[in-house]
């Protein structure tokens, strides 16, 4: 029983990280019908931005909640900039191009970020400094809970709540939803589509950047290729929940995290990564719109 509870906790913790990344994927897909392959690498850049911020400002000398907040902010701003740059330089020109071109560009951007990351940061893993060591104890006997895990989970939920608020309670959010329904009609209604799309990218990338820092805190080893697999898994989570649906992305991610944890705990860790792809295929074959998605008809 204890083992089961431990796995449950681990799975939720894992899933909350995937959720933050999946949010960016789902928003961008909802608006542009584009899978931004580079999103996972933005997450990686968030972790590295965080690490360098800490190094520059020596934040690890005084571990505290405020250092964490500062790092998070720095990473989010940095990644928002990167997201904006990617959209502006690589994707904007290809809005009218065939889908396959955009797909290839996305792959290109992703690989470019990875390889230049390897070049600039070095391809061996780096240590993410400890900037927050809470002296809380959430453990109950054999059931061990890393207090950082709880903090990360809490921060993820807060960020998701903020996103929900932005999308459903603000004008920007309304504009985003409008653009995702119909691009051209939205611009006819006076919505500056280009700007809205940029904001979407920036928001999504900021989420990914935050995820990067949070991961760096719990698992203090970061390297330039750390974003590939989590990015793909977050994509699967977004599809599982229904692309374009924010709540769906979160639920999908938590489900994926739990599934992974139970697979590894009770069977074998060998096919841990393969599980995500298996789920993707199954979902796309049997319920392509995902758990919460809306059926969109394809016009001929």
């Amino acid at each position: 029983m204890i083992e089961f509870m431990q796995h449950l906790i681990n799975g939720l913790s894992l899933g909350s990280i995937y959720a933050l990344i999946a949010l960016g994927y789902t928003m961008v897909f909802g608006i542009l019908q584009l899978i931004n392959f580079a999103h996972g690498d933005v997450y990686m850049l968030g972790a590295f931005t965080g690490m360098y911020t800490i190094r520059v400002f020596h934040l690890n000398d005084h571990p505290s909640f405020s250092s964490l907040m500062i790092t998070l902010l720095a990473a989010m701003i940095g990644c928002a900039t990167v997201g904006y740059a990617i959209e502006r330089l690589a994707y904007r020109r290809l809005r009218k191009s065939p889908r396959i071109n955009v797909l290839i560009t996305a792959v290109g951007v992703s690989l470019f970020l990875e390889f230049s990351g390897q070049l600039i940061f070095g391809s061996d893993p780096k240590f993410f400094p400890q900037i927050y060591t809470p002296q809380l104890n959430f453990s109950a006997g054999e059931l061990r809970l890393n207090p950082l895990q709880v903090i990360v989970f809490a921060i993820s939920l807060i960020l998701m709540g903020v996103l929900q608020f932005i999308i459903f309670r603000t004008r920007l959010g309304r504009a985003m939803r409008a653009v995702s329904f119909n691009h051209d009609l939205a611009s006819l209604m006076g919505i500056p589509t280009d700007r809205v799309i940029s904001y979407t990218f920036m928001l999504g990338s900021a989420m990914a950047g935050a995820a990067g820092v949070l991961v760096g805190i719990i698992y203090p080893k970061i390297d330039p290729l750390m974003g590939t697999l989590p990015g793909l898994k977050a994509f699967v989570a977004a599809v599982l929940g229904g692309v374009g649906n924010v709540t769906g992305a979160v639920i999908g991610a938590l489900t994926l995290g739990l599934a992974e944890e139970f697979l590894v705990g009770y069977w074998t860790p060998t096919y841990r990564d393969a599980l995500a792809f298996a789920i993707l295929i199954l979902i796309l074959l049997f319920k392509p719109t995902g758990l919460f998605g809306v059926r969109r008809s394809e016009k001929v």
């Binding site: 061996d124 893993p125 750390m226 060998t270």
Partner: protein
């Protein structure tokens, strides 16, 4: 209308010929392909031609000013510290040898190629070194999978190759021109098993190995074999993949079996995180490992969680013998950091080659190979190196304890 009437006639009379024409192309291509490939001229033939060129080139090369030594290492890639450390050790050795007059009056020149951690790159690199740069000997590689890709080529061209730290037994089985100056995995696995049983008095041990890394799998199986022979019990075996960051699942399963120690024969990249997460889960027992732990990053990533762990290694910085201390001080002077065992192995490998070159009487590569094979009790930083009949080095291993960011010498285990 007339054309319509004419067509069938033409088609009929020219039909068969057309058929033959059209399919002639296919048949002709097939037969010519078959002929050209059945009378195949393989790379082996070209190799034997160039190897005779190479060995005759040995003589004129010996008459030139420089002796070229090739090095293949992973200076980039996820195990970059391994390649870089080895390179530093080799470069230091070459520098020293040249400073003291070189070999038989000639200077040594080191040509290094980075293989980015990929076996096919290593193969291309060694081909380039042998055919283009005409090196006399090859130093490389650290990882057994890359050495396995390089060895057949070096053997083919009859260029002696010494691996500084590849521990998989299969490497030297590739041919009689392939050597190594380190011990092999069967020995290393036994070392930690003996240490666990004799020093830690452990009877129940768990194993957590990396399934993507053959070094890890090999060490784990040799450890298990020896441990069981000594009366111990392996309570559980779990695995992970290189690149994973979350090991809580496996560690939870291990925790439930209450082992007295956990054997984690992986690379430093994952071991640090494993130690942290083990502490988080409340696991207090010591972790045991192999030489794959040796890197400054281990202490960084593992932090305090690494304390009270042990691993087997090739040498200890606390060894007071003059050879070792000399090496450490020179290394610190040149590179401003303490050398790890990979640097020491690289240093020794380069010096073994130079020593063999000094000892050889002839000028062909076969003579060099024989001289290397005859190395006896060579005073290396990592111990006395004797090359046995299987072209492996017979040496002792040291067991180090991680304590507060330093590696403290525990004991030496002899073969």
């Amino acid at each position: 209308m007339n054309t319509v009437g004419l067509n069938p006639l033409h088609k009929q009379s020219q039909g068969v010929g057309l058929f033959i024409y059209k399919h002639c192309v296919t048949f002709l291509i097939a037969t010519t392909c078959a002929i050209s490939t059945l009378t195949g001229c393989t790379k082996k033939d070209s190799a034997s031609l160039s190897s005779s060129e190479a060995s005759s080139a040995q003589a004129p090369q010996a008459a030139t000013e420089v002796i070229k030594i090739g090095e293949v290492g992973s200076m980039t890639g996820s195990e970059a510290t391994f390649g870089n450390s080895t390179h530093q050790g080799i470069a230091l050795a070459i520098q020293e040898i040249n400073a003291s007059g070189g070999v038989k009056g000639k200077k040594l020149e080191l040509i290094s190629i980075d293989d980015q951690g990929k076996p096919e790159e290593a193969a291309t690199a060694v081909t380039k070194l042998i055919s283009q740069d005409q090196v006399t000997a090859i130093l490389g590689e650290v990882s057994s999978s890359r050495s396995l890709a390089m060895a057949p080529i070096a053997q083919n061209f009859k260029v002696p190759m010494i691996s500084p730290s590849s521990t998989n037994p299969k490497v030297t089985e590739q041919g009689d021109y392939i050597f190594r100056v380190c011990f092999i995995d069967p020995f290393q696995g036994t070392v930690m098993a003996k240490f666990a049983q004799e020093q830690l008095k452990a009877k129940k041990v768990a194993i957590l190995r990396d399934v993507r890394n053959d070094y890890s799998i090999g060490l784990a199986s040799f450890f298990a074999e020896t441990f069981k022979k000594g009366g111990g019990e392996i309570v559980i075996e779990q695995s992970y993949s290189a690149g994973d960051i979350d090991f809580k699942s496996q560690l939870t399963a291990i925790r439930s079996k209450n082992p007295e120690a956990i054997f984690v024969p992986g690379y430093y990249t994952e071991v640090g995180l494993i130690a942290r997460q083990a502490k988080e889960l409340g696991i207090q027992v010591p972790l045991l490992g192999g030489d794959g732990w040796d890197s400054p990053k281990l202490k960084e990533i593992g932090g305090d969680a690494m304390n009270q762990s042990y691993f087997s290694n090739h040498y200890s910085t606390e060894d007071q013998s003059p050879v070792v201390q000399n090496f450490i001080s020179k290394f610190k002077e040149t590179y401003h950091s303490t050398p790890d065992s990979l640097a020491a192995m690289g240093y020794d490998a380069a010096r073994v080659i130079a020593d063999a070159m000094k000892r050889t009487t002839g000028t062909t590569s076969k003579d060099l190979r024989d001289a290397i094979a005859a190395t006896q009790n060579f005073e290396g930083v990592t111990g006395k190196i004797t090359i046995d009949t299987l072209r492996n080095a017979v040496k002792s291993a040291v067991v180090l304890k991680v304590e507060n960011g330093a590696y403290k010498y525990q004991t030496t285990i002899h073969p």
